[in-house]
Amino acid sequence: MADEALFQFLHNELLQYVNNTEGGENENGRCVSKLENMGFRVGQGLIERFTKETARFKDELDVMKFICKDFWTCVFKKQIDNLRTNHQGIYVLQDNKFRLLSQLSAGKQYLEHAPKYLAFTCGLVRGGLYNLGVKSIVTAEVSVMPACKFQVMIQKM
């Protein structure tokens, strides 16, 4: 089944729509937060379905590993390439070829638009973690496309 293509098309329309309604040059922030919120809801739903049959997680790191491996593979067809942590609640997930950026030209031209392409996914991760009992703030950064880093800051409940 080719439904990952379908998801990409839908994601593009989502971006287009939010971009148009929030319009304007300086509205990037609102655009991002709207997309992030949508991702959050989807992440919540998805993780519930996904962890239905899995064993209880040992700790926070175990949860993060699950996100990097199983969750990422299911959503983006590959694993996170690198996971780093300072063991104090900050995790950095690096994806060297992030699927939703792979359609964009790799030059510097579209770099400023990259945050919009990552916002939904940030929400997805935050929503997933939230329903596993980990409250967090997720941000993303891109320096060279299509690689990107997601930073997860755990908020102690």
Binding site: D3, A5, Y17, M38
Partner: protein
């Protein structure tokens, strides 16, 4: 690790759930942004159209389906190849008009509405209207103008979901003026 069991079998299903849930989030957002259902329906159709005009290329590349001889063949390809490929379902093609220019796709199940219940205040919302847009957009790219609409919808209490498609005309390819 203990939790590696039956993961691969789940993956496919998970991915369609990602689509379903994302679509849900989109419709929810549209309902917040627009005052009435009519507007939401229109917007969903428009987004579907945009997806359709791109999807057709992906479809032709993946399926290597050739040119259809008539509308009946088109109907079969849509139901048996396209729906199967993208949504994992095979609707049945029925209710042909005598002239052979109109038919129905009957969907036994609709993955888009897997987790959906319509609240009372949205009784004119055509939740899956995106599909109409996709079909219209995709067919337009292969020179077919069609009219697509939902005739029945399980979300609104009908027994099945029925998409009605009507052939309008062949779109002639016009060369841009001055382009020989």
């Amino acid at each position: 690790m203990s939790r590696q069991s039956n993961r691969t079998t789940d993956n496919k299903k998970m991915n369609s759930e990602l689509f379903t849930l994302t679509y849900g989030a989109l419709v929810t957002q549209l309902c917040k942004d627009y005052e009435n259902d009519e507007e939401v329906n229109k917007q969903l159709d428009k987004m579907g159209y945009n997806i359709g005009v791109r999807l057709i290329e992906d479809f032709l590349a993946r399926s290597s389906v050739g040119r259809c001889q008539d509308f009946r063949e088109t109907a079969d390809v849509i139901a048996k190849v396209a729906f199967k490929m993208y949504l994992g379902i095979t609707p049945s093609v029925t209710n042909w008009s005598p002239a052979g220019d109109e038919f129905s796709l009957i969907l036994e199940s609709n993955p888009l509405v897997d987790f959906v219940e319509l609240p009372d205040n949205h009784n004119t919302l055509i939740y899956s209207n995106l599909l109409c847009g996709v079909l219209r957009g995709a067919l337009e790219m292969v020179q077919m103008a069609v009219d697509v609409r939902f005739a029945q919808d399980t979300l609104r209490g009908d027994n099945v979901t029925e998409i009605r498609m009507k052939f309008i005309k062949r779109i002639e390819e016009n060369l841009p003026a001055g382009d020989e």
